[in-house]
Assembly symmetry: D2
Homo-oligomer: 159 residues x 4
């Protein structure tokens, strides 16, 4: 089931770059992930008005994936729809739809990403001997913003 624009709650538009396209003339699969983590982080920055990179707890990527439905590429911009699949104790799962062109509600996504942020202790005290960092609760400000992205009506079949 390919998600449509109607499946997402918040939106961001990003521009594409000449170098996004690979030898086949369309956006390289790795480049989609630059757009995906930009959409999540830019939304968090803007909606929380906080310097999210330097908070005591920061979100690190535990898992990310993308399903590709239709080719996409330079030069048109890309609209990214955001929806939260789950807001847990220490993690948030986002789904991100990527669209290019047609802006009607029933427009099918070119691709859909799924992005899992886990919050870890960003203070020196939280750094373990092996270099890893302690998992901590999602900060309140992030939780509020992420919860507002939850799809209230669970009737869509996407994802």
């Amino acid at each position: 089931m390919i998600p449509t624009r109607a499946d997402y709650v918040a939106w961001r538009t990003v521009t594409t770059r000449w170098a996004d396209d690979d030898v086949y003339g369309h956006m390289n699969n790795a480049r989609y992930f630059e757009l995906i983590d930009t959409a999540v982080n830019a939304h968090l920055l803007e909606a929380t008005s906080l310097p999210i990179r330097s908070l005591p707890a920061i979100g690190i990527v535990a898992e990310v994936s993308c399903r590709y439905f239709r080719e996409m590429g330079f030069p048109a911009p890309v609209d990214l729809g955001l929806v939260a699949e789950k807001v847990g104790t220490s993690s948030v799962v986002y789904r991100i739809g990527l669209f290019q062109g047609d802006t009607s509600d029933d427009q099918a996504a070119c691709a859909e990403g799924r992005f899992v942020h886990v919050y870890v202790d960003n203070t020196e005290a939280g750094r373990r001997n092996d270099g890893s960092r302690a998992v901590v609760p999602v900060p309140d400000a992030i939780r509020r913003v992420a919860s507002a992205l939850l799809q209230e009506q669970p009737t869509t079949g996407s994802g």
Copy 2:
């Protein structure tokens, strides 16, 4: 369950780049996918000795994901282990373990990618009116190389 070096069949080593690391001082999540598709495509190029980009059937990425277990980054090189999870009629599913540092067999991966190639008609005749391309069988030369990556002993718990 985090996979170890013992879970993979073929290997490639790639160098890391200064620009791979993001503001947190470790490799950005999108950059892992540049390494993942490089490992798959370089292995196919080398093992088939064919110009895989210009064959009548080409593999396009239908889905890709990565789970991140431990931070990794510039300047050390990255060893990528390849294993085929499935060789289907028109698609191949690879799992790619990313390792940095310790080279013992029981070394846990820093990350594991999963990469799905679907083969499509690369000739003009195979291009549909909507720009998409017809799905075709995995070419024989690719099938042979991919099948050699299947994990013969299904006793590992990874993936």
Copy 3:
């Protein structure tokens, strides 16, 4: 002499990405060149309304440089100003100013790129035995668009 917004003729705005910033928290020097060649190519595509990648003559990059005056980075967008320094027989030299923030005319650039396109024969006949391609005149449609970017009043001290 650092150029200002007043030194450029045409404008494009691009969005920045989380992965643009490196370990020092600002845009990595290589990323500026993704913005620079995007600005040139997107302007040519739009102003000529031609599929510039598949014309009989294509512009390849012979030389590019960037001077960095002030840090720039995610998440704000970047305004790129374009001016043609020279429109030659077979080549065009562009200068591209990169700006972030303040939009007044006397705003100093964060960086300035200089980008040299040389036109080569994109047909099979134009491919030499050693793989290189014959240099050809700038196509008329490109010449018209590039010439419109020439700074008519040579009184600015920039560059």
Copy 4:
């Protein structure tokens, strides 16, 4: 005058990536700069054995350029030759030759980069109100390593 392998003093080899190649089937011009700053920084890291990112003085890129002589791309590795053009009070200018294939001394470069590092105060005290940082002398350890890259016999015509 195209430089040859004989014009460089120290060497590093890096691997190429599938995503390095753009729609024309060769390495995108911006990607060369990922290789160039990797060669410089990896050499400094290794030759000084110091954590160069967290020293009191860090090198920031003031200017960088690249001249492209011959196409280059995935999948072959790239050899980068390093030579110091100038070691000044607060800055170092490197030239970096990029080679692919033939390893004979008189092999012409595919491209040559020129990379200018200026050293700035990386301590909190060195941060000015406008966000810029005070220029400081090149650290001794860096100066020793960079000076060893100076071309002793100024008889080559390159650069």
